[in-house]
């Protein structure tokens, strides 16, 4: 589904940082991969490279058989298949909840208004916000906003969902509702890549846990292996600090 080979990425602004250093990884369809690591380890950059919000400097990234680093690739087509959920939600504040979920369908997928609205209502129902369909995002709580953001991404019928620290900006009591939606999604067999600090979620839902540090993938494993028997000292140190 996703195949990452020898990807490098260096930022020059505000100062030179090698965010990704020779990262290679393979994700199978239906897999839930949780990426963890200290801040500045490159995990968000890795995620953002997967839909080319950041363009990797070198290497290959294949999404469903399409090389997204190839200049001939229509990246907008790829992005339709790759949903993304952001830490700061990034809902469109000038549109209602319903319009947030339909705007992509009507303008990118070219679906009819009615069909889009029906699809949007089904998804809002699924994430439990259908009652607020006609409200504006500013009238919602953080947890509700993030659930709308998930519905917005799902409305495009993506094959992969990327989550960039989806619960980091939430008040603690709202984390659960967002994680529940993500768990349900994982159960349905969605391919998911999740950058998070929620170790409980990683332990419960992840098929694979990836630990990154200083732009490199340090250790990969199943949750049992990862949390009970980490191999690298860096992983042990990180886990001892957060658990």
């Amino acid at each position: 589904m996703i195949d990452v080979k020898n990807v490098h990425k260096t930022f020059f602004v505000p100062h030179e940082v090698q965010a990704l250093h020779d990262v290679s990884y393979h994700i199978n369809p239906g897999e839930v991969v949780v990426v963890i690591g200290p801040s500045g380890s490159g995990k968000s950059t890795f995620l953002r490279c997967l839909n080319r919000l950041e363009k990797a400097d070198s290497g290959h990234i294949m999404i469903d058989g399409v090389d997204i680093l190839d200049s001939k690739t229509n990246i907008n087509k790829v992005r339709m298949e790759v949903g993304m959920v952001f830490q700061s939600f990034n809902l469109f504040p000038h549109l209602t909840v319903l319009e947030n979920v339909t705007v992509g369908q009507t303008s990118v997928r070219k679906r009819g208004k009615k069909e889009s609205a029906e699809k949007a209502m089904t998804l809002l129902n699924k994430v439990g916000i259908h009652a607020k369909a006609n409200n504006f995002p500013a009238q919602l709580s953080g947890g509700q906003m993030q659930r709308v953001a998930i519905a917005r991404a799902l409305a495009m019928d993506p094959k992969v969902m990327l989550f960039d620290e989806p619960t980091s900006a939430l008040d603690p009591e709202m984390v659960g509702e967002v994680l529940d939606v993500m768990k349900a999604l994982a159960k349905e067999g969605m391919t998911m890549v999740v950058v998070t600090h929620e170790m409980g979620f990683a332990r419960e839902v992840a098929d694979q846990v990836v630990f990154m540090d200083e732009g490199k993938i340090v250790e990969v494993g199943t949750p049992e292996h990862f949390f009970t028997d980490p191999q690298h000292d860096r992983t042990k140190l990180f886990l001892s600090q957060i658990l």
Binding site: N76, K77, P93, H94, G104, S107, V108
Partner: protein
């Protein structure tokens, strides 16, 4: 004796009311003081002569254009139709009303008055105000278009667009509007009309060079307002839109610009109020807008005090109306 004194709530001295009163008194004093000062300079106020600069009744003489005999006078509705014939040709004259100076059979010569009627006309100040409003509206519309395109070019990644936009903005913001108006009229205007006449085409009236100078001047400022407005939108908005598969243009139109519009409305309104005031400079290239009209009225009437006050008030009315309209727009977009 009652121990528990009912404490009268001490009447709070209303400071605000006091200062409002001071304001009102000061205002009256300034006006009266000003009036007193004008009496010391032997100025005679003639406010009664001001209305004719808004509306006046003009007596129009209808004169004969050929020499001949009046052959018939007929009534048609409220108009009188006089036919003058010199044997071969005949002319029809329609005069509203029935104030005629000729009878049937009378011989008239070229230039003779056949009849007179009165007609209400717009005064000089109203004409000037209309031109000021026209020029401002057209300039604002072009200013928005130019500003929007330039603002988008300014933040474009394309070096040609970006550098062109910066050059334009810097040139316009770095030179006085008065100089730009002169260049438009005396340099560009002459060149363009010369080229047009050599090509055997129409000539562009000076009004359009005035509008061009104002629109292009405003456009540079609007561009910076648009740029700031777009850049003030969190970059996560663009990322979210792009992550849905929208193209950059689509994201700009559907997501960024609607949000930016709300933020740029207040500074945009300020810019347009400036533009209306700046249009007063167009008098230097013989466009008879409100200021130039007032100057002409002052020259003929010798009533500078009244006329310049009226001129100022008319500008205030225009700008105040605009800012009310923008406030209404702001309230409407705030609801969404």
């Amino acid at each position: 004796m009652n121990d528990t004194k009912t404490v009268e709530p001490k009447k709070e001295f209303d400071k605000n009311l006091f200062w409002k009163a001071v304001y009102a008194v000061t205002l009256v004093c300034v006006c009266l003081g000003f009036y007193w000062a004008t009496t010391q300079t032997d100025y005679i106020w003639r406010w009664n002569r001001i209305p004719k600069y808004f509306y006046y009744i003009d007596d129009v003489n209808v004169t004969a254009e050929i020499e001949g005999e009046v052959t018939s006078i007929t009534k048609k509705d409220d108009d009188s139709v006089v036919i003058v014939s010199d044997g071969t040709d005949s002319e029809h004259y329609t005069i509203p009303g029935s104030d005629l100076m000729v009878d049937v059979g009378q011989t008239v010569y070229m230039g003779d008055t056949i009849g007179t009627y009165s007609e209400g006309r717009m005064g000089l100040l109203v004409e000037g105000t209309i031109i000021t409003i026209e020029v401002s509206i057209v300039s604002i519309i072009f200013g928005i278009l130019i500003g929007l395109l330039t603002g988008l070019s300014r933040i474009s990644t394309n070096p040609f667009l970006k550098m062109s936009a910066i050059t334009y903005i810097e040139i316009i913001r770095g030179t006085p509007l008065l100089v730009q108006i002169m260049i438009w009229y005396f340099v560009l205007g002459t060149i363009i009309n010369n080229l047009l006449s050599k090509a055997g085409l129409f000539q562009i009236p000076e009004l359009w060079f005035g509008i061009a100078s104002l629109a292009i001047f405003a456009g540079a400022y609007v561009a910076e307002i648009v740029r700031a407005g777009i850049q003030s939108i969190h970059k996560g908005q663009m990322e979210a839109a792009r992550s849905l598969g929208m193209t950059k243009t689509m994201a700009m139109i559907k997501i960024i610009l609607p949000q930016a519009f709300k933020r740029i409305l207040p500074p945009l309104a300020g810019q347009f109020i400036s533009l209306i005031k700046d249009s007063s400079l167009l008098g230097v290239i013989a466009i008879r807008e409100l200021t130039k009209a007032t100057r002409e009225a002052v020259t003929t009437s010798l009533m500078p005090y009244e006329l310049w006050f009226v001129c100022g008030v008319l500008y205030l009315v225009i700008t105040f109306t605009l800012s009310m309209f923008v406030q209404y727009l702001e309230r409407r977009t705030a609801e969404a």
